[in-house]
Subunit: 336 residues, 2 copies
């Protein structure tokens, strides 16, 4: 019987860690999870995770051949196979994640952040199949980005390329505080939280009525603002308009840097479709050099929001076998 | 007798076109020029240029083996081998430069803009030898940029990547007019002209005396401001300070996008050394995510300003033979 090659995609989040066994076509044949916060000790976390993956593989049967472990995690460093000083995870300092896996396996273990994983996922399974130069922007509680240039994800010298969420909208100290400690970062405007902040600013400046004036900042979320905008609430519409324009402003920078074929938007805010895409596209075009105008596609991600993190992580493995980059020491590609 | 392999480096400028025959170590063994504006017809321009190159090669003797033609030109498009709508050149529309050369030769003909050529030059002959991820910023009358990622110049989908001179400092229509038609582009602040504009703004806002108040905008140039700053003129110093800070602000973006090992500054303004480098470095660091802080080198280009354009252009050929990218149709690498 022919074996079925499967990549393990692992999404390490602050609360849950989810994994799936994914075939080359993007079908998830098995999945499971564990509670990240139950493990103070990363070594025990990895041992437990590995055990669960093995069990999931055995359930599929003898036909399953694992090809490697792709991991999406905050502050994941592909060059070193580590997670470095990730604020949202229970482990402090530098976690040598790939090394911990390599106590159990000789298969490739690739670690990067979720936006980079999403970009590779888009290339392997999604709308960027066949594209060589594109960018994926993930819009969740923050804003992440992954750049693919000449068919390869850009990692940079230290493994941390693609952080446009933390480029500033303008110079100066009077800008919005960002969780990263800086001022005026793009994600303080373009993210679920950024949308809320913009709505509050508009409420403060305007005297127009809004159904959202009765909610506190803590009560509000992006979906409520979306629903209000869909019902024609003027302040909610203006909040989306401003969010889209700030995104478009920085997308023009993205184009000037890398001249991509397409930019994909992924995640919660991207689901607001025209409310985000229209002002983003318009303001991006307005800020482009004429050589770029009308050439760059602004597209919705074709990965489903539900499985994207696991699929993105698993795609790192397929991409690895396409290029066999020398990323860290023990990726000898030897199979179990 | 062993032959000496030489790359032809051609710098097409609005006034002069300069070329040199350059060996792998960056020695220019022959050079000559022609007046760009004398040639309304690009076909005759290329025929004349090719003839002059042939003569220069013959002077070196039978030992010279030409390897290809690298061309730096405004709006040079590497993907197509064209110059497209370059405002400063005598030819309108799209000039099929590589095709025109290929009437005479089967050797590779590579065309890109001067900042991209400078980046490859830095990698082949200069301070970026051995580096895989770095950026070169050229500071002249405008601001150009070339990105090298994973050892290769980034060209992008349409061949026009690396235009950070035309990313805006902040959103809005109240910013400085740029020659490109947009508002607030980085090069309206960080360039020889940008420095003059900043000085005038400071003169307008301040009541401090300055030796430069007696000169008109037309009379002023970057060197006069540099000399005044060196003599301690407060407004000139502030103009450099602001110019450096605006550069540093956008260099933080460069780092967030591509996480390079180093950023090289090249050209007139870079010669002001500490007057530019200190505020640029300081403000870049201030605007970096903590993961990048203290890691990215800000360096002077090691290419001499005098020959950089020709050397950069010639380096495209050596880089081509390193990677043999499929860039346009007739680069079969066949030698004369």
């Amino acid at each position: 019987m022919a074996t079925k090659q499967l990549a393990v995609g692992i999404d390490i989040g602050g609360t849950n860690t989810i994994f799936g066994l994914v075939d080359r076509d993007g079908n998830i044949l098995a999945e499971d999870r564990l509670i990240t916060t139950h493990y103070d000790e990363p070594g025990i976390f990895v041992a437990t995770l590995y055990e669960k993956i093995k069990i999931a593989g055995q359930k599929i049967g003898a036909s399953a051949e694992l090809m490697g472990f792709g991991i999406g995690a905050p502050m994941g460093n592909i060059n070193k196979g580590t997670i470095e000083y990730a604020a949202g995870l229970p482990w402090k300092g530098i976690v040598p994640l790939a090394d911990l896996f390599h106590k159990f396996t000789d298969l490739p273990v690739l670690v990067t952040n979720d936006a980079n994983a999403a970009a590779v996922g888009e290339m392997i399974y999604g709308g960027a199949q066949g594209m060589k130069n594109f960018v994926v922007i993930t819009l969740g509680t923050g804003l992440g980005s992954g750049f693919v240039i000449d068919g390869k994800l850009v990692y940079g010298h230290d493994g941390f390329a693609g952080e446009i969420g933390h480029t500033a909208i303008k110079p100066g100290q009077s800008n919005r505080d960002c969780g990263c400690g800086k001022k005026g970062c793009l994600e303080t405007y373009v993210s679920a939280t950024g949308l809320k902040r913009t709505l509050l600013k508009i409420m403060a400046d305007s005297i127009q009525p809004s159904e959202l004036r009765k909610y506190s900042f803590d009560e509000l979320d992006a979906e409520m603002i979306y629903d209000a905008a869909k019902r024609g609430d003027n302040l909610a519409l203006r909040a989306f308009q401003h969010t889209g324009r700030m995104l478009g402003f920085k997308l023009a920078d993205v184009v000037a840097y890398t001249n991509p074929e397409a930019i994909f938007l992924f995640g919660g805010l991207a689901l607001a479709k025209d409310l985000i895409f229209e002002p983003a596209k318009e303001y991006m075009e307005e800020n482009l050099l004429s050589i770029y105008k009308g050439k760059v596609k602004l597209l919705e991600s074709e990965l489903s929001t539900q499985n994207a993190a696991v699929m993105g992580a698993s795609s790192l493995i397929w991409s690895h076998y396409l290029y066999q980059p020398k990323i860290n020491t023990r990726q000898d590609g030897k199979l179990q």
